[in-house]
Amino acid sequence: MLRMFRSEWLKIRRSVMWLLIAVSPLIALAFGLFGFKQEGSFPWIEALSLLSALHAMLFLPLLTGIYAALLCRYEHAGGGWKMMLALPVSRTQVYFVKFAVLMLLLAATQLLLLAALLAVGWANGISSPVPWRTIFASLGGGWIACLPLAALQLFASVAFQSFAAPLAVNVICTLPNMLVVNSARVGPYYPWAQPMLAMLPREDYGFGAFNLSLETLTIVVLGSFCVFFAAGWTYFAKRSV
């Protein structure tokens, strides 16, 4: 397993992915530096809401699709699947490592957002102590809520030779997020909206699917993740290359 991570690392080491990781946190940082006014009694939570709104609604789902497509692109383009699967490796391992790398990239994105948040707080001289618990629940929750979408996008990226097709689907499905979260019925089941539901501080958003308990959301997220991941994995294990 470790040797496969090391091989994968070599392939992504000089990829555009590293630039993409910084995009959303940088935009959030700009939002925070120019748009944040210290008014309420919970300045950190307000800053978090401000920074994560666009990130969770738009960038996180989009990036999930882009990372997945990029991780598969060089395998499709140069016949990498064929080469790798004719080596003494198990297909299950290949698929698990791809997924793990995808989640690590998303984790790196979340960590950069944390850095942006701390920078905004520091720049505005927020004096109250940092509410680490809430912040980690938000960033970590957003990350975990990406699991089903990541599984779905990796499945699509493995299945389609084309780089653009899975991305187009991803964009089209991400755009209605703002509407979907209004619905308590559909919202939690919609993989593209799950990161937003999990990430935005609940105190500030008392409508639609945000009223759901965290337990319900967790169960839905983990349940659909298992289904999507198993589907992609069995597909990959059986396919001809």
């Binding site: 091989s7 060089y74 140069g78 990498g80 004719a86 003494p88 001809s240």
Partner: protein, 306 residues
């Protein structure tokens, strides 16, 4: 259990694609240290067969045994000792040749020094640090061969490895392939659509056409077939043919001549004697030497298709 004398053996290997059998009940048998030429015209099913050998695609029917083990059950152990190049060379374009080989090396777990060795074998050392997407087709092909050699395999499976190489490159690869069984005890399966390409190095050949294996034997036997007929130029071929038939000789005739399968000198002499005795005029007796390529074309039924 599979027959231990064969390094690679398939039984009734079949693959159906889109309803029709693309590979049909193929029984390959390759012995240790052989260079096996796997021949067939375009679309015959070579690549499809090779994919199944490597476990990249599942057979519809039949089995593959390599080193005596079933590929379905012990794929990973088998592939540890197999190097392969399938169809067109695989590579990561944004990486250099060295990094490409390193990505594979990390999966194989062989010493780092192998990278330099295989690069020099295929003569890519000088270009090794350039991104592969800027390589010519021939250079990519060399990199593909280097990748196949990286794990010091016991069985090397090369699907049209000289595709895109210039004559000097083809010659080099040929020399390399010829040297491997002797120096390293490697067994090689090499596919091609040209008999002439493997003729000089193969010890055995298998010929596949429209999915079926139509010939599998030593290259020498194929050469024997190549000079297979004796022709008699005679005055009246039809009457001469009847005469020979009445004496139990199988023959064919056309307007100008009579021909029989290649046979020993005594039989030829006896035939001539018969003909002369019956007042046939014998103008010439000659051996027809068809080229190997021609035999190949006749066997695969692609003659005149180009």
């Amino acid at each position: 259990m599979a027959n231990p004398t064969w390094i690679l053996e398939t039984r009734e290997l079949t693959k159906r694609l889109g309803g029709k059998p693309v590979v049909n009940e193929v029984n390959l048998a390759i012995g240790r240290g052989e260079i096996y030429g796997f021949l067939g015209p375009n679309g015959a099913g070579k690549t499809t067969t090779i994919r199944m050998l490597l476990g990249l695609a599942k057979p519809t029917k039949g089995s593959v045994h390599i080193f005596g083990h079933d590929i379905r059950k012990e794929r990973i152990q088998i592939l540890r000792k197999v190097g392969s190049l399938v169809e067109y060379p695989s590579y990561y374009g944004h990486l250099s040749a060295t990094e490409n080989l390193e990505a594979v090396r990390r999966l194989l777990g062989v010493p780092k020094s192998r990278i330099g060795e295989v690069l020099s074998i295929v003569r890519l050392t000088k270009e090794a640090d350039r991104a592969v997407k800027g390589y010519s087709l021939g250079m990519k092909q060399r990199l593909g061969i280097a990748t196949a050699l990286l794990g010091s395999p016991e069985l090397l499976v090369l699907d049209e490895p000289t595709n895109g190489l210039d004559p000097a490159g083809i010659q080099e690869i040929r020399e390399l392939i010829k040297s491997l069984p002797g120096s390293h005890g490697v067994t090689i399966l090499i596919s091609s659509h040209l008999l002439s390409e493997v003729e000089q190095m193969a010890t055995r050949v298998g010929i596949i056409a429209k999915g079926s294996l139509i010939y599998q034997d030593g290259i020498q036997m194929l050469r024997e077939r190549a000079k297979s007929r004796i022709r008699f130029g005679v005055s009246d071929p039809e009457a001469a043919w009847r005469l020979l038939l009445s004496h139990g000789y199988q023959a064919d005739w056309d307007r100008r001549q009579l021909s029989v399968d290649r046979t020993d000198d005594r039989t030829v002499a006896a035939i001539v004697a018969q003909l002369v005795r019956q007042d046939h005029q014998v103008y010439r007796v000659e051996e027809e030497t068809a080229s190997l390529e021609r035999i190949f074309l006749e066997m695969t039924g692609t003659e005149g298709s180009l």
